[in-house]
Amino acid sequence: MVSPTQSGMGVFRRVSFFLMVFALMGFLTWMFADLLWRVDVSVLNIALVLIFSVLSYPLCVGFWQAIIGFFSGLRERPPAMDQGGHRLPKPRSIAVNIPVYNEDIEMVLLRLKALYLSLKLTGQLDLFDFYLLSDSNRADSWVSEEYGWARLCRQLDAFDRIFYRRRKRNIHQKAGNLLDFCESWGRRYTYMVVLDADSLMDGGSLVTMAARMEADPKLGILQTIPLLTRARTRYGLLQQFANRLYGPLFSRGMNFWQGRKGNYWGHNAIIRVDPFIRHCALPDLPGRPPLGGKILSHDFVEAALMVKAGYAVRMDTSIGGSFEEGPPDALDSAMRDRRWCQGNLQHFWLLFAEQLHWASKLHFINGIFAYAGSLLWLLFLTLSTALAFEWEKSRLTLIPVHGTSPVGSLSIGAHALLLFGLVMSILILPKLLGYSHAALSPSLRGRFGGFVALTSMAAGEFVFSTLLAPVMMVFHSSFVLLTLSGKGIGWATQTRDHHGLAWWPALRSLRLHTASGLLLLLLSLQIGWKPMLWLSPIWAGLLLSVPLVVLSSRPARGWAARRFARASQSSAIEDQLTSGIINNDSTMAFFTDSADGFQNAVVDPMFNSIHVSILRETHAEETGIAVPEQSFFKLDPAGISPQRLFNLLESEASMRKLHHMVWRLSEGDLHPVWQRTIERYTLKPIFAP
């Protein structure tokens, strides 16, 4: 239970943290306003000062979070992995939910298998049921999921433990998928663990989470900090390294101020089901999509509703064994950001909800800033370059007066340099602290491969992230503008393969970036070589965006790649989960042929029997489609509309009849595609058993 002292401490921490943030913001804004107003007071200057003051908010939040995270990390114990005699929930009271949407199902099932076996080792497997909640709408994915699920259950002897449900209509995306679970089976469980398709969790961590929920009846959501894992591209490895080095610092800092009014990230978390069902249904927002209507980023809102209902939402930095996979390249990362951007901007409306706690609103604000901040940065850069250009064009000598700030008596150049240094230090200090934390700790330093390796990798990551920052700034700015202009985005599957981007598509996606970089370079050259150098990280990043993005998307190879990979995947649990099962287990691989899902479901006796059986067991409604005749097989399946194929897949009678027919037709009655699908079956196995 939460004592009043705990609650009071939470308020004190939040208030003191944001006082520090506002104090630093005020100081920076004063320095900047003073710099401009020593020369001139104009509308443009005032606009620049206003934008700067808003922009300094995320900088200062990040700065203080990093400092607090650094110091709290000095006394933090290693991740707790055991439930240390705490009471555990009763058997089968926890549902582990994995929503999937046209995913690489082999990998999803391998991750589930790793978790299952890891839980088995803890001796607490009995506490859990597992649900594969599919929203897939591609025939291929649907059929593969069924077959893969059935094989996994057979392999683990878990037919009554791992469940598979596919929604016929995927209403309201992932949030709707989980809502459907809660409404259908939620009441059977006390807790539910929500995982993403790319989540990987250790069984011991799950048991610890359950014990912590059981020990605190007012704890509504317990969020772990997922570390990035299994990156194979250069981009992925750099992100993974940064996530390992700097992530814990920010998480601890964030945890300081949010306390029991924390946030939920939508996966790798455990949720108390009863209050979730009662209080966390998502309301519709005013207006229409993309800014209104159904809430896209449901997790933040669910956390806010849980807090509103009087339950705690806590982020637990002490639980390890929680992992996720990141996007393989910068373009894929940007695509994901496009969805998140729209979702976060929608949260704007909820800032006006009187019933929500102000700590929850701070999470919304931070989420909005993550994207809207980029547009402001772009605006700031454009206006400040325009101002410098204007001054240069006027050919007038600047006659600065003394300012009001402590550095107001310095020369205007020294004042500007000092302010620049201050802002840079605020930007860079969190990284420096993350690096120092690792460099000063013998165990961490060793994990990253020693002092020299750690330093060189941190330097490499710093250069890369500096050059990539303006690229992402332009992306985010365009996403904000697109969303504000009413252009929403659909629901896409995240790419999780690692083949690398081609030059031409990258150039098409990044032409705006390259052109902006060139424009900025030319403009800054017009002003003088000094501004050109000052702005070099921005124009260079933009100008080099295509090679930067393409080359970083390539699979990582060689000594440096091995070093990065080793440094950023170093815990025993992770090795056990990934090297032990995922990387070396071929038992789930069954797609060694190229036929699509519909053809497999018709021709393959096992796929067909599993599919038909599931339709029968789930009492799927017949679609009313006529059972096809023999002539159906004279057609190329690629020429049949996906909707018709889907309707056939949904019809038990049709699928039975099609399987019966296809094997009985002679070569002349089959389109070559069907003939080839049959001819695949030779003594060389094309499907695993």
Binding site: D129, S184, R187, A353, I614, T682, L683
Partner: protein, 191 residues
């Protein structure tokens, strides 16, 4: 096993039986029978049956006869093992049983054979269903609580409703907003 007696003076029949042979072999492979010896024995046995039916006057395509023969063999074998009525058997349920018993991995030598079948195999073969979801659902309704978004929320809701009713008004407002933004930019540029 009796060897096949194909008549070489009927080249068309020979060709059709070859195709049927191939199809039978492919179907058995698709049932995950990957042992060469077992596959060959089963294929020959079924083809022999087909040959007899063709020579006995069955006018259908040998491929079709062969597939029916496989189904009949499988149904009678399965119903015999399980002591079930073969007329009520559905082949997809039997295929599912074969899958659940992991035929290919451990039991293929018993496929379509009788006598000395291990009890464990029989037990696994009895499973004819797949339960994908728990037996008894527990129904609940998640109803969103009303969030009061204050005057701004109400104003936005009303505006959207108004624009929905009068799209021209929405277009004029958007146009005016665009012109205002343009004027703002021109003003700054001229400073």
């Amino acid at each position: 096993m009796e060897p096949l007696q194909l008549k070489l003076d009927h080249p068309e029949l020979d060709d059709a039986l070859s195709k049927a042979y191939l199809r039978v072999e492919q179907y058995l492979c698709s049932l995950r029978i990957h042992n060469k010896r077992i596959l060959s024995e089963l294929t020959h046995a079924i083809l022999d049956d087909v040959r007899k039916r063709v020579l006995g006057g069955d006018a259908r395509e040998p491929v079709q006869i062969a597939m029916d023969a496989i189904d009949q063999h499988v149904v009678s074998w399965y119903s015999g093992l399980m002591g079930l009525d073969s007329t009520a058997m559905e082949t997809d349920r039997i295929r599912l049983s074969l899958f659940r018993a992991d035929l290919a991995k451990q039991w293929s030598r018993y496929f379509l054979r009788t006598g000395n079948i291990p009890e464990h195999f029989l037990k696994e073969m009895r499973e004819q269903t797949l339960r994908t979801i728990p037996e008894s659902p527990s129904s609940a309704t998640m109803q969103p609580e009303l969030l009061d978004l204050g005057k701004i929320g109400k104003w936005a809701e009303d505006t959207w409703r108004l624009f929905g009713k009068w799209p021209v008004l929405g277009a004029i407002t958007a146009g005016l907003a665009y012109l205002a933004a343009l004027a703002f930019v021109i003003y700054f540029a001229s400073l």
